[in-house]
């Protein structure tokens, strides 16, 4: 029979044997994720015998203005500052891939989208951060379901999610409520104007509210806005395609985009464009936000940060005049299916070639913590969109975005679908984007555009390796929403 003293001795020995494990991956102290990030950074500096440190960061320029203050705060608290190199948001992937080849360690961390993750991870640039997450506990359970998953690839976590970019729709409630408008609209279309349930209804709203009283061809008010520029437009089509019940590939990676759903979605996408500014093919956020906030359009489907521009007390002409809507959908087999695309979704990534990967991680955790992310999301220059459950109830975020917007945004999150996040994603999307634009310009029919895309996708899949792509696609499929409409 085992005596109590022997049991105690065995336990003691076991504890001694196991003690290196918790020491190596020692959890960092602190009540909140930002505190733990600060403490972790201080411990790191001390362990390296440093008093200060400058990290090099690749920063999409659109994020600079909204990030500097908090990065400055982190430096004051820890001694770890940031030298940032700005780059156009669409050029991040190319910069990252060149670093994957050069392996120079020229930057320690960067903000990038989930599309680039499969390629940068396969290229060995993106560092897995599961070990740091274990130590820092960045409160991932507070992040809206599905978002943080976009920073995972092949079962590993590669970044901290920082930007809830599922789309939202905004319409002008002041224009709907203008005298006589509701009645005129209802008489024409048979339903009370408001948030559209379907793309057909959005088309009707756009048609009705496009105002060109002088008949110049340059309306005083445009009925709709979405992005149609090169490198952007495909995303808006993809959302419509998903709402049609479409999926890009079957289980053997055969493209499905050129079926009935894809063609119909593309026809609708093209049809709606006629209610948009004529120059929309060259516009992205820097042009679209001020245009909408200037009161020049009735509706827009875009990133949630539109609320910052549209509700800005000085810069917007339409503050308080907006209605935020759950994105429209399509009737599929008699049921309404709505889909919001996670149309960008920025992530803090750490470089495998960084000499200070841990410090880079602590900065990432600080920036994405509950407290700091709320400040970032609420910032007047911010393009960080709400992605934590706690943002819904944070007074600063509510003030900057409005309660209504936040509730709608989190409803949209329930029906949010990912982009095509598999290896070669940038190339798949580029071909899709090119052919969609050719169709939009009338150079190709919608059928031809999607058939060409499907053929090009087959080539890409074969070139990368079908078996590998099938695995990647299989891993992504659970990220698609199961609900047709939000609760």
């Amino acid at each position: 029979m085992r005596t109590p003293s022997r049991t105690v001795l065995t336990l003691f020995v076991a504890m001694l044997l196991l003690s290196p494990v918790p020491t190596a991956a020692q959890a960092v102290t602190g009540a909140t994720a930002d505190e733990r990030a600060v403490n972790g950074a201080k411990v790191y500096l001390k362990s390296k015998g440093l008093t200060s440190l400058k990290l090099n960061m690749l920063m999409p320029s659109i994020f600079t203005a909204g990030s500097l203050e908090e990065m400055g705060n982190f430096e004051k608290l820890t001694g770890i500052g940031v030298n940032y190199s700005e780059v156009g948001i669409l050029q991040v992937q190319a910069k990252a891939m060149s670093e994957a080849v050069a392996k120079s360690g020229s930057f320690d961390l960067w903000i990038g989208d989930p599309i680039s993750l499969p390629d940068t991870a396969e290229a060995g640039l993106t560092r897995g951060i599961d070990d740091f997450i274990l130590r820092g506990n960045p409160d991932l359970d507070d992040i809206v379901a599905g978002f943080q998953g976009q920073a995972r690839y092949k079962g590993k976590t590669y970044g901290l999610f920082a930007d809830g970019d599922n789309w939202i729709m905004v319409i002008r409630k002041d224009l709907i409520e203008a005298p006589g408008e509701k009645q005129k609209f209802k008489a024409k279309y048979g339903w009370e104007p408001g948030c559209p349930d379907t793309y057909e209804q959005w088309y009707q709203l756009a048609e009705f509210f496009t105002r060109d009283p002088k008949g110049t061809g340059v309306p005083e008010l445009y009925g709709a806005m979405g992005y149609r520029a090169r490198s952007w437009g495909w995303r808006w089509w993809l959302q419509q395609f998903y709402a049609k019940g479409g999926m890009p590939f079957d289980d053997a990676m055969k493209p499905l985009i050129n079926g009935k759903e894809g063609v119909e979605a593309l026809k609708d996408y093209i049809a709606l464009t006629k209610f948009m500014p004529k120059d929309i093919l060259g516009w992205a956020t820097p042009q679209a936000y001020p245009f909408f906030a200037g009161g020049n359009a009735f509706s827009i489907m875009t990133y949630p940060s539109i609320a910052i521009a549209a509700e800005h007390p000085e810069r917007s002409k339409i503050a308080g005049k907006n209605k935020y809507c759950v994105v429209p959908g399509y009737m599929v087999n008699g049921k309404l299916v709505r889909r919001a695309l996670q149309g960008y979704g920025n992530i803090f990534y750490v470089s495998n070639y960084s000499k200070h990967a841990e410090a880079a991680y602590w900065l990432s955790q600080y920036m994405t913590s509950k407290e700091v992310s709320a400040r970032l999301v609420a910032g007047s220059n911010s393009v960080y969109d709400p992605y934590r459950k706690s943002h819904l109830t944070d007074s600063r975020v509510i003030k900057a975005r409005t309660k209504e917007m936040l509730e709608v945004h989190f409803k949209n999150a329930q029906i949010t679908a990912p982009m095509i996040l598999i290896q070669g994603a940038v190339e798949y999307n580029d071909v899709l984007d090119l052919n969609i634009q050719e169709a939009l310009l009338g150079k190709l029919t919608p059928e031809d555009a999607l058939n060409r895309t499907a053929a090009a996708w087959e080539k890409i899949t074969n070139q990368i390796g079908r078996r590998q792509q099938i695995e990647g696609w299989k891993a992504l499929k659970p990220a698609f929403p199961t609900k047709n409409v939000p609760d």
Binding site: K95, G282, D430, L434
Partner: protein
Amino acid sequence: MGDSERPPYRAGVLARLERERVFKWLPFVPVQGLFALLLFPNALLLVYLSFLSWRITRGTWWSAPFTGLDSFVDALGNERFLWAVGRTFGFAAVAVPLELLLGFGLALLCREPFRGRRIYTTVFLLPMMIVPAVVGYDLSMLLIDQGPFNQVLTVLAGRPITVRWLSDYTAAKAAVIGADIWQWTALTFLIFLSGLAGLPRDPIRAARVMGASRWQIFWHVELPLLEPVIAIAVVLRSMEALKIFDYPMLLTQGGPGNSTETIAIYLWRMGWEFARVSDAAAMSLILLVVVSLYIFIAIRVLRRERRRLAEETAR
């Protein structure tokens, strides 16, 4: 010759170096040596990579499978690449002659001294000194649908003008070509201004004495004398124009559709966005051959003209 008659070794080396055919090449040795050192390994690597099937996402290049000429065959069957090549040559074919004409015209205006000549010369040279990316970014703001450029056109025309510079298939091409012309006319202006200043005075004076009109002097004396300078301007600008990247990238991202996708943009996408380095390498080499041929022909023309000119001057 006995040992005593031989010049010392050191003196012999110096004597050899002083020979004209050796000495004239000496100054090039350090620069060309540096070029060889920096460029040769890269060029060789580029050639080697083009025979592999390497994606950045697929391990290291030295472990990539050898696929021979596959990447070249793929490139020559790649419609988008061929269109990009054709489009880029098309841009250069429009932009370069216009830059030459404008630069030449401005140089003629500024060749003789007049009040404010220095200011005009500086103003005409300024565009060249701006970073092309800045030009592209600024133009992307100026050329939007309801932007300042269309507003100026509206004032000039006296009716609303809305050219969709960034979103119309044809107008976008014009915008890209226009940006190139705006910036690089300054270079041709500089080349021609130097060329005009360096023209020999005697043939012009002789023509004047013989009663030739201003136009005859220009057409029959000055222009032929300027032919080598024109050829240099053509070669330099063509080489640059075929590398056009900044303006289409910043103005249109190569769009709308692929209407402004140049070779440089497509290669950049292929290599750094699509991670297909071997395919990009093969395409670069094909392009290198095409451009080299063009430059070779241009240089031959230049040499022939110089020879002809030398003979005429001798006569």
